[in-house]
Symmetry: C2
Subunit: 301 residues, 2 copies
């Protein structure tokens, strides 16, 4: 195996799952872990998320051949600066952040001369914290690597091999393209879900009790997405601003067209869109990206 000692900085849903996944898939690989929160460190040790929980980031990375930063995107710079002086020569630094252009800049700046291969496993749940981790999180999920044009291909290949061993499917992509694709498939859906849940709970003529009571009509699916970690998502939107604003502009145009169709009673325009979106769902199911059971098997029928 290409890495013998992996250091994980940040032991929440992603870092914890990563430690557990390595423990299961690569039992010969030693793992160390650090979290800035002492309570999280204690819990991570109890749960055995990594082989050894360290009390300083320097100790965590001192011996590592791969360091993976699993902190919110806005904390990447500080985390990288904290470990810069302790990195052993030849080690590779990567991350799991949901936006890649800004993270690459920040890591390059904090770690001059270090091999940095940014990565984004497209996986997660609405839970966060060390108790949310589980070893299957990356299984059959895509992990997108966004090396710079001048990154050593061997380093990218080693990291790809590592993620493949954890059950992920690896793609290599330009960071800017990653940020646009993820703005569409993840960031804008989250921003919209956060917003509609806020709108619903604000509407004075409708009580919050009613919003919750009748949420099975569609709203509850948005509340799940809108339960995701606030710090992580704040940082995603701030760090992927350009792509988020571009896609949001498109969405707003399309929503305005739908609003006009509702106002003018243009049933054909509505029907044409609804037919088209149904076909996309079929492809999501066919490509194994979702559970085909109605309501995700909520009722187990």
């Amino acid at each position: 195996m290409s890495f013998q000692r992996v250091a994980i900085v940040g032991l929440g849903l992603l870092g914890g799952s990563l430690g557990l996944a390595i423990g299961r898939a690569l039992p010969d690989c030693a793992t160390t872990g650090f979290d800035a929160d002492a309570g999280v460190r204690a819990r991570a040790a109890e749960l055995g998320l990594v082989g050894r929980v360290c009390t300083t980031v320097a100790e965590t990375v001192a011996d590592a051949d791969l360091v993976i930063l699993c902190v919110p995107v806005g904390a990447m710079g500080a985390a990288a600066r904290a470990l810069a002086g302790s990195l052993p020569p030849g080690s590779i630094v990567s991350d799991v952040g949901s936006s890649k252009r800004r993270v690459a800049e920040v890591l390059r700046e904090a770690l001059p001369g270090v091999t940095v291969i940014p990565a984004h496993p497209v996986a997660g749940t609405e839970r966060s914290g060390p108790d949310a981790g589980f070893p299957d999180l990356f299984h059959n999920r895509w992990c997108i690597l966004t090396p710079d044009a001048d990154a050593a291909p061997e380093a990218t290949a080693r990291l790809a091999e590592f993620w493949t061993a954890l059950g992920a499917r690896v793609e290599v992509m330009d960071a800017a393209h990653h940020d646009l694709v993820l703005a569409v498939t993840s960031h804008i859906p989250h921003l919209i879900a956060f917003t509609i849940v806020g709108t619903a709970s604000d509407l004075e003529q409708v009580t919050q009790g009613e919003v919750i009571k009748y949420s099975a009509g569609g709203f509850r699916d948005f509340t799940r997405i809108a339960a995701s970690d606030p710090t992580m998502w704040r940082d995603v939107f701030l760090s992927n601003r350009d792509a988020v604003l571009e896609v949001l502009g498109r969405f707003t145009e399309d929503l305005t067209a739908m609003q006009r169709a509702v106002r003018s009673g243009d049933g054909d325009a509505l029907y044409a869109l609804f037919e088209r979106t149904r076909a996309i769902r079929r492809q999501v199911i066919e490509q194994g990206q979702d559970d085909a059971r109605p309501d995700f098997g909520r009722k187990d029928h």
Copy 2:
């Protein structure tokens, strides 16, 4: 039991589930069913969705003490006119439509002198058609009755008893308030989901293949909602126009505020919203309106 012979007009997800639910919970109640589509009638007979599938709507309702219209909201008027001449005296007409003000008007106009108690079971899945029906659909779900101010309280009470027997929890509400509450909890979430799925598949710099491939980051949840029946939803938006436009206006305002926060880098505004929406999710779970397993148990961990 208050009803002995129930006629179901429209044998899709709702009508089929209703027939199956009656068959299980009220075995002494005879059911007849009709669908305008001969293929659906044949399939409904094969599946045993109702006791007897009829070839005309007149035959279906001839003997019924309760008639429930399970057709798209836009087809309610035509369905009501078709059965008006065949209704036995004293029978009650109800429906399962997702908007109530317009449906009440249409039914009142088509059925002068008939006792009409509009109803909306807040239940469904993304599937449609006779094969989508299952007897548990209404179990523990809310059913909202919206009788006119001058409706006989006994008729409302009988219908409430009927839905309670099928496992639903019954609320009585003013039709206009229903339409606003459902615009918030169901109609606008659906309109937004349909729109974002359309936006994503249109974005030229991102291929449709990539949108599907990376949909596990949030987008896939929207595709499920956007797979719902196109005819049903077209009619919902057209028939609940005023409430839909009002809530959509609020949502657009809130989204514009979020857009401004992203553009200006106002992380505190983003964080404050995300914290608040997380609390709403907890209430949805606590009130039993959703499955608490992460990702709805998609990975069964």
